[in-house]
């Protein structure tokens, strides 16, 4: 495993220098990357780990009897252990590698939900959910007749916890909510949400896609039954994500995709399935991305969440104070705590037009509905501009953003 570690005390300039793409351009201008909530850029340590793996250690996993394959398998399975430590799960047997957060939620819907719920059973979502945590449940509703209930979002951007408690009922089978909103940045009280759900016998899934890159996650402390997140938002490669599921649940769930590697024996009349997380990992996985993901977790753990959260929270506060100086600019969701995500609208300028002006200045933000159409509807906006911070962003990036927005207000005045 090749990881070049920084010496303490950590120097932010050196950390930023780890990300080669930040020396590049967007529309011929120096890149100002403010779209990490969509996907994070990668440090050279992750890029090199993947390249090193393909050069020295690559073979298919679990099957070969030669030493190279044993090496490859060990690197893959060591990463499973590493994920268990990263999110403080009880056992590596509770970690399933999937393609990403979206696939993880679909897996739970089809393997856990489809096989044990009936028409009229209820799943509670929230108004702030990403489509990945809405559409799989909608599809399950079409298949089985389950009912979806929705926790409203307050004007502050917080979940209406009073309304949540009235939605919980003996018919509730699952509460599935996001840990942090990809639009508002607001961090939800997931431990409290879980306790209330468990009190009435419902299971809980937490979508951690926007939380894991920014704050330390302890799934045992939260108490949730399922926790899902993606590598590519954590400075790792695309193509891999994690479904954490408590062991008794995972063991009780039928397989989701069939094929090699998730079986014990196969004949044309009978198939017996593998035990543990392997039961949900059919076929050859994105092995190199799992190894790259390992390098990303090492990178984060070396920098440490105290440094990351201090840096990002300071940047968020700076961004909010600077954005509020722009006439006609409104930030969606004022509640804290938040991760470093800010969505806003500007009077008289459509988000798509604002995004294009910023694009022209080299600034990468997201303009649109952010895969959260119900939330856009709730705040009565067609779309927003979203700036989101990664650990490599600086106050210079915020200044560039504000300057770009002001240029847009002059263009459209």
């Amino acid at each position: 495993m090749i990881i070049t570690q920084h010496k303490t005390p950590l120097n932010h300039e050196q950390i930023r220098a780890d990300f080669p793409i930040l020396k590049g351009t967007n529309r011929g201008k120096p890149l100002v990357y403010l779209d990490s909530a969509s996907s994070a850029q990668k440090p050279h340590q992750v890029i090199e780990a993947i390249s090193h793996f393909y050069t020295h250690d690559y073979a298919n996993i679990h099957r070969g009897i030669y030493e190279l394959s044993t090496r490859s398998t060990r690197l893959y399975e060591d990463t499973r252990e590493q994920v268990k430590d990263f999110i403080h799960a009880a056992s590596a047997q509770e970690i399933v590698f999937v393609r990403g957060t979206t696939e993880a939620i679909n897996l739970v819907a089809q393997s856990f939900g489809r096989t044990r719920w009936q028409a009229g059973d209820e799943v509670i979502l929230s108004e702030m959910e990403h489509h990945a945590n809405i559409v799989p449940w909608h599809m399950l509703r079409e298949q089985t007749g389950i009912v979806l209930r929705v926790i409203p979002v307050l004007d502050t951007g917080e979940l209406d916890m009073t309304a949540y408690q009235t939605l919980l009922s003996p018919r509730t089978k699952l509460v599935s909510v996001t840990h942090a909103s990809n639009v508002l940045g607001v961090i939800n009280p997931v431990k409290q949400i879980t306790e209330l759900a468990h009190a009435i016998g419902a299971a809980v899934l937490i979508d951690g896609a926007q939380a894991v890159p920014h704050l330390p996650v302890n799934v045992q402390d939260i108490g949730c039954d399922f926790y899902v997140f993606s590598s590519h938002k954590c400075y790792g490669p695309t193509g891999v994500g994690v479904l954490y599921a408590k062991q008794p649940l995972l063991d009780s769930m039928p397989p989701w995709q069939g094929g090699g590697d998730m079986i014990e024996t196969v004949s044309f009349t009978q198939v017996s399935y593998a035990k543990g997380p392997q039961k949900f990992e059919a076929g050859t996985p994105d092995i190199a991305s799992v190894i790259g993901f390992s390098a990303a977790m090492h990178y984060l753990q070396h920098i440490g969440f105290p440094f990351i959260t201090t840096h990002e929270q300071a940047l968020l506060r700076y961004a909010e104070s600077q954005l509020m100086t722009v006439p006609g600019l409104r930030i969606l969701g004022t509640a804290h705590p938040k991760v470093g995500v800010v969505s806003f609208v500007v009077d008289g300028i459509h988000p798509h037009d604002l995004g294009t002006v910023l694009d022209d200045e080299g600034i990468a933000v997201r303009a649109g509905h952010h895969c959260a159409m119900p939330l856009m509807e709730r705040f009565k906006v067609p779309a927003t501009v979203r700036a989101s911070f990664g650990l490599y962003n600086t106050t210079d990036d915020v200044d560039a953003l504000v300057s770009g927005i002001l240029a847009a207000t002059r263009l459209f005045s």
Partner: protein, 146 residues
């Protein structure tokens, strides 16, 4: 300079003060179009008689490009035959995707040549035209440029 080309004065003006907005009594076709990617949505009201597009009006909201394009389209197609409008649609599409001036006389619409540099905005510019085309084809489905 490409941003200046994209957001030149006429486009910004039509985006802020679109022409031919409203729902006329005379409309013979009504068609909805939307671009879910950025929330542009419009309703076109076409008044067609004997193979000629007498008038087009619209209602809706969206980004400056989509609104300006709809506004300038309503001016450009007024009084043209349905066949001529179809030629303009093809010409406009070529203009915004390739940046080349088509054979058809596009008049003021040439100002949209700058859209080509911003591929993400092509669907904004063509929304009104796709919607008009669907209306003239009596396509009853909503138009979506996603």
């Amino acid at each position: 300079m490409s941003l200046r080309e994209l957001y030149q004065e006429m486009i910004v003006d039509h985006g802020k003060h679109p022409r031919n907005v409203g729902k006329p009594e005379t409309a013979t076709h009504c068609q909805v179009g939307h671009n879910p990617l950025c929330g542009d949505k419009l309703c076109l009201y076409v008044t067609e008689r004997n193979g000629t597009v007498e008038n087009v009006h619209f209602e809706g909201s969206g980004c400056a490009i989509s609104v300006a394009s709809a506004s300038l389209m309503t001016e450009a197609v007024k009084g043209k035959t349905v066949d001529a409008v179809r030629d303009m649609f093809a010409g406009f599409h070529q203009l915004v995707t390739e940046g080349k001036e088509p054979a058809t006389d596009m008049g003021k619409l040439l100002i949209f040549a700058g859209v080509m540099e911003y591929p993400a905005r092509v669907k904004c510019a063509t929304l009104a035209w796709h919607t008009l085309n669907a209306a003239l084809n009596n396509d009853l489905r909503d138009v979506c440029t996603e």
